[in-house]
Subunit: 392 residues, 2 copies
């Protein structure tokens, strides 16, 4: 099955892009290239799709349920009681809502951590997008639950297609013991799974870790031997210079979630040190309760502007933050995508250059990061299939 | 001419809204109310439209022309040379682009400061929206130009309709002498014009003012006697507690421009002091070169999240920031609008509750501020007329 995108703009020039099955066969195909379907794209430009590296998708069902209050009130009096009342049906419904919203804003993959994850996996399969489904783990679970989680890390969905991967997802250093972190890390490594964990999100987490273990979370995780190239560390707001070097040396992937960090008052991500360390940074929206959307385009603008807030107006340029949101995310999860190039998996966003926000177009990437919104999107492709089509 | 919006959600309840001419006649009309046109709105909710209180609309033609570089390089090597090459045609074209984008994102009024403003005024009239057109003034202008500017403050468009108002717009304390500021303030006051000026946008502006006049910009303007209820002070990033009290006491309107302040590295607006002082705060996008769009919905989210960054997660709630972007802006410019209520001017945004970003809908205002984008907008009304209609 071949699709030809005729006359579409790529890197500022019109070209013909030929998709064969789930990959780009050529991003410079001849006008008379054979295809089952040819789509006129002269008014459109193609950009890489988004890979959302930290999410709790089902929480979309709590969008707008509680906002603008102190963190502990928000969690203890509102979010946790509501979550306790959520069952498998609500997780499915919330995941469907999340995936609809993600597709409408150009996201084709998300890295998730929640409960009843088989329901989220079903929603992912039905929509035809990609995901990393976390097997969430806390010490407070029953022994039976913990055993079942360990079993899932080893064997769950091992034999299925390539659109869903399973991760070990211990919640954080304050909810999972060092011993259990080490056990899960071993299981994950032995079964080729990534290891997804919240790290140094708040100042309190760092202070509590210092009290409990005499060192900061990154140093503690490193001492446990659970930092490596398959680790996905979400947030990393309160990380010092030496810790950035540790993360970079171990090959850890860091997920920056600017909207969530701002809305929950966690603080400004240390862009300067993160970039200087050379660590791989990706972008995530976190869950809808602390954002309250799953829009990676908006997340890029928040990151690029928050980086500049204190005066360094060259810090985190539009092309750099686009890399965080696209190819860095794909690479972190072993997805051979994130750039529009021959042989790569055919994931992409197609935008309308006639949208009011895209004009004039001196610089497509600047317009995409700083000026656009989801109203500029006309098509979204995932794994060679058109999963959103809003051409009129 | 009467229009009935049938079954539309207002404050969480379905109602019938009757528009008569340019005003809301009733926001609780009977089902059988007579109207020339009745629109089925059961899937929609109505919200106040946006009043963008600080803009340089024509700069939209420079969107994406230069980004991510040090401030002085950006201004001196890129923006200024390009602006010097702009003529009246480019100002018109940029203004048309800006107005198209503003309408598509729900803005019905903007307060502008630029040059060749008669071309911007033409674009405003053609689109049927509202604007305050600034007569921009700098000491560096020729004497002839200055005389013509003063003449315009006194007499320009005085006899025309109510959609456009003229303001005196001295650029800033570092480009206009104290004597000229006083002269323009007198002219503005004598002719019922507002007085629009940049104030304390950067730390450098404050330091230079201290050096030149021995006091900070707000104190200096107050000493000159040019602070009053018709003054619109854009930015006010570097304003101390005593200055906030001065601004509040004089009845000055402050325009907060979060995206511009972040992108240009100007710093974080002192939300705590501004709110505590009781001053009227409005929102503005600033020009496209430092944003790079004119989207007041996005601006609300940036303000509400930047307020919370340092830990106070209750600071600047969704309803508060919506007020800044709507009724506060309308009031500051004497426009009898900004709330959906009987007798008010019929300016409004109509959103689709079925949009992926609007679901679920525990709290419409939270969804609008934190989750929506312009893709949720189905209609925009200005002065009783539908100026955008994207119903499908």
């Amino acid at each position: 099955m071949k699709t030809l995108l005729r006359g579409i703009q790529l890197n500022g020039k019109p070209t013909n892009i030929l998709i064969n099955g789930n990959r780009f066969e050529s991003v410079n195909a001849p006008d008379n290239a054979y295809a089952n379907t040819a789509i006129e794209c002269h008014r459109y430009a193609i950009l890489p799709a988004f890979y959302n590296a930290h999410n709790h998708a089902a929480m979309t069902i709590l969008r707008g349920y509680a906002d603008d209050m102190p963190l502990q009130t928000w969690l203890e009096d509102h979010i946790w009681p509501k979550e306790r009342a959520m069952g498998r049906a609500e997780v499915y419904e919330g995941s469907v809502m999340a995936i609809n919203e993600m597709i409408s804003s150009g996201t084709v993959f998300f890295n998730d951590m929640y409960f009843s994850m088989s329901r989220t996996a079903t929603a992912v399969r039905e929509a035809g997008i990609r995901a990393a489904i976390g097997v969430t783990y806390m010490d407070s679970y029953s022994d039976k639950m913990k055993a079942s989680k360990e079993e899932r890390i080893c064997n769950w969905m091992e034999d299925q297609d390539s659109m869903i991967q399973i991760t070990a997802a211990p919640h954080a250093v304050y909810t999972v013991s060092g011993e259990n972190l080490q056990k899960l890390y071993r299981l994950a490594r032995d079964h080729g799974r990534r290891f997804h964990i919240h790290v140094s999100e708040t100042r309190k987490e760092v202070e509590d870790c210092m009290k409990a273990f005499g060192m900061t979370p990154v140093r503690y995780l490193d001492k446990l031997g659970v930092l490596g190239p398959d680790v996905i560390a979400a947030h990393c707001v309160h990380v010092d210079r030496e810790e950035w070097d540790i993360l970079a040396e171990r090959g850890v992937t860091v997920v920056h979630c600017p909207c969530s960090n701002m809305k929950l008052g966690s603080g400004r991500f240390p862009y300067e040190m993160a970039i200087e360390s050379g660590v791989r940074v990706t972008l995530g929206t976190d869950g809808c309760s602390s954002n309250n959307n799953l829009d990676m385009r908006e997340e890029m603008k928040f990151a690029a502007l928050l980086a500049k807030l204190n005066g360094d107006t060259s810090l985190l340029s539009a092309p750099e933050v686009l890399k965080w949101a696209t190819v860095n995310g794909a690479e972190a999860f072993g997805i051979d995508a994130g750039v529009i190039a021959d042989g790569k998996l055919a994931d992409a966003i197609i935008v309308d250059l006639a949208s009011p926000r895209m004009r004039p177009c001196y610089n497509l990437i600047s317009n995409w990061v700083y000026a656009a919104d989801s109203s500029c999107i006309r098509m979204v492709l995932c794994n060679g299939k058109i999963i959103l089509d809003k051409r009129s």
